[in-house]
């Protein structure tokens, strides 16, 4: 972290700190701006204010315990973090293709619900940054509905930790289907509502069209992923290109656009929300058929014995105790697993040395790569466009600093 000693450069340009407490930097991002009047001549991002050492902490925990830390990486999309971590573990334990179908369907549905919840926060704050206050309130209203679903299944609104190696922690409750059906019913009309407020709003268009343009080559040069990459004309989605959790069997379109500006990223995410609703709807139908099917793999190396068995059988009690205290032990090796989080390719890379704790866990946060381009996009633009650019990249500092 660098301190600004001076307020002006020798040539008379103003040096300005934006953040880390600035609300438009979406967390604790600090930007050091060099300004000439209203124009940004240089921008140096500075992060690390939220560095919590999650990767180091994972090395001191067993494979089950490290799961709860993953919720806190990208705190707006805990489910997708869980999923990439769990998928890496499953590959490491060689059970990646043995996860029960019902668990896969619930995973997909929850991932998509999280995607919508995260996109709603993005949309609300992004519009707020650009002066549209109402959208923020509307978005929070629907997000609340998703959080209610999360609370209904796991008892927690945000940090659900609902996934387990080999499946889920528990089956979804009976009223889950009803809540999801209600959400699927209302959501498309709500998205229309947001679009009426923004998509043809002249103020919004003036602030976003042609601002913060990132070309296709630039996006690939800077390691973009997710909606930002798709808005720059690259049709890449982990769900389609490297399918996981049987995403290839769902019918949905990948939203993409050629323009690469802030407005294109807005449109891509709006379309993505509609596609997510479609996927949730398909998942709900599959879930009905799979009623009563197992939600967790039965593998004594990894999964806990059933609760009734623990109460009645000494061996199961010992087994449970061993899995809780020592944890599952994989063979030495490494595994990389990627999912499409709301922000892009969220991946977990686990290296095991054959002990009960991971030797190294790396989290590939999409925001970390997406943010790299910011300093090049906003240099030469206006101060007011800085907030538009940050908002459109949709960063989560928890993921950047880890």
């Amino acid at each position: 972290m660098v301190m600004l000693e001076e307020t002006r450069t020798e040539s008379g340009r103003m040096l300005l700190n934006m953040g880390p407490q600035h609300p438009s930097t979406h967390g604790v991002l600090r930007l050091m701006l060099e300004l000439e009047g209203e124009n940004v001549t240089q921008c140096i991002p500075d992060m690390g204010y939220l560095h919590t050492g999650i990767e180091k902490m994972c090395e001191a925990r067993n494979y089950h315990q490290a799961l709860v830390l993953t919720d806190r990486i990208d705190y707006l999309a805990p489910i997708t973090n869980n999923l990439s971590y769990i998928m890496a573990c499953e590959k490491l334990f060689d059970v990646g293709d043995k996860v029960p179908e019902r668990a896969q369907v619930v995973r997909v549905m929850l991932s998509e619900l999280t995607r919508i919840a995260s996109h709603l926060i993005w949309l609300g704050t992004h519009a707020l940054d650009l002066g549209a206050m109402t959208v923020f309130m509307y978005c929070w209203r629907e997000r609340e509905q998703i959080l209610d679903i999360m609370e209904n299944i796991s008892g927690v609104r945000m940090m659900t930790s609902f996934m387990r190696i080999g499946g889920l922690v528990a089956d979804v409750p009976d009223d889950f289907a009803g809540l999801v059906a209600e959400f699927v019913r209302i959501m498309p009309r709500k998205i229309d509502e947001y679009e009426t407020l923004l998509s043809r709003n002249p103020i919004f268009i003036d602030r976003t069209r042609g601002v913060g343009v990132i070309t296709r080559d630039g996006a690939l040069e800077y390691g973009f992923s997710g909606s930002c990459l798709r808005a720059s004309g690259v049709e890449f989605d982990v769900r389609v290109n490297l399918p996981y959790c049987a995403y290839e069997t769902y019918d949905f379109d990948v939203a993409w656009s050629k323009e690469g500006d802030v407005y294109a990223r807005y449109m891509v995410r709006m379309r993505e929300m509609r596609e997510s609703v479609r996927i949730i709807d398909q998942g709900a139908k599959r879930l009905l058929v799979l009623n009563g099917a197992p939600i967790r793999l039965d593998d004594p190396r990894i999964t806990f014995p059933k609760r009734e068995k623990i109460h009645s059988s000494m061996e199961s009690l010992i087994h449970h105790f061993k899995l809780v205290s020592e944890g599952p032990v994989p063979l030495p090796g490494e595994a990389y697993a990627a999912v499409e989080s709301p922000r892009g390719e969220q991946a977990t890379y686990i290296m095991s040395d054959g002990s009960n704790k991971p030797h190294r866990v790396r989290f590939r946060g999409p925001s970390f790569y997406n943010l790299q381009v910011l300093q090049h996009t906003i240099a030469g633009g206006l101060v007011a466009d800085v907030v538009a650019c940050i908002g459109s990249i949709d960063i989560v500092l928890g993921e950047i600093d880890r």
């Binding site: 690390g48 560095h51 390691g223 020592e326 030495p332 040395d353 590939r364 790569y369 790299q372």
Partner: protein, 186 residues
Amino acid sequence: MVQQPPSEGATQGDDETPPPPPTDIDLVIERFPGSFVPSWRYADQMPTVRVLPEHIREAISWLRHECQTRYDMLVDVGGSHWPDRDEPFEVTYILHSMTTNARIRVKCAVAAHGDELPVIPSIALIWAAANWPEREIYDMFGVEFTDHPDLRRILTPNDWEGHPLRKDFPLGEEPVEFYRSASAGA
């Protein structure tokens, strides 16, 4: 845990079926002397090759621009520390090809001499996406990237001492029972 060069490729001369076309791994091994596939369990089935540090820049550049499978996206650059190995500091690059959806993992490992930081050539000048990840590895593992445009700490403060993700960096927690060491076997 010990990495060994691979055994000689099992190619039979008088086989009727034509040999399969060389994979990108084979081509990398052919082009860059000293490269090999470390014997290690890759549970994700991603093709992996290790190249010498002096070749890493050409190898990445070749995979991106000249190789038939154009690996045009740099997915990740990550570090790891293996104190028991001869070359304890390992940097892993994961590349993705948009046209074929193939992925390749390139590794590079170096040793530290005395108190000096281990050194690996930076690829940030040929691929801007590697800029911040390399800074992070410098910050967390103390690996120095030569010719990096802006090699500063990124997540910890500038006056921070040590490199937190090295194995000899204390965690600041009470040790927990039931730790099964790697030597005890799985």
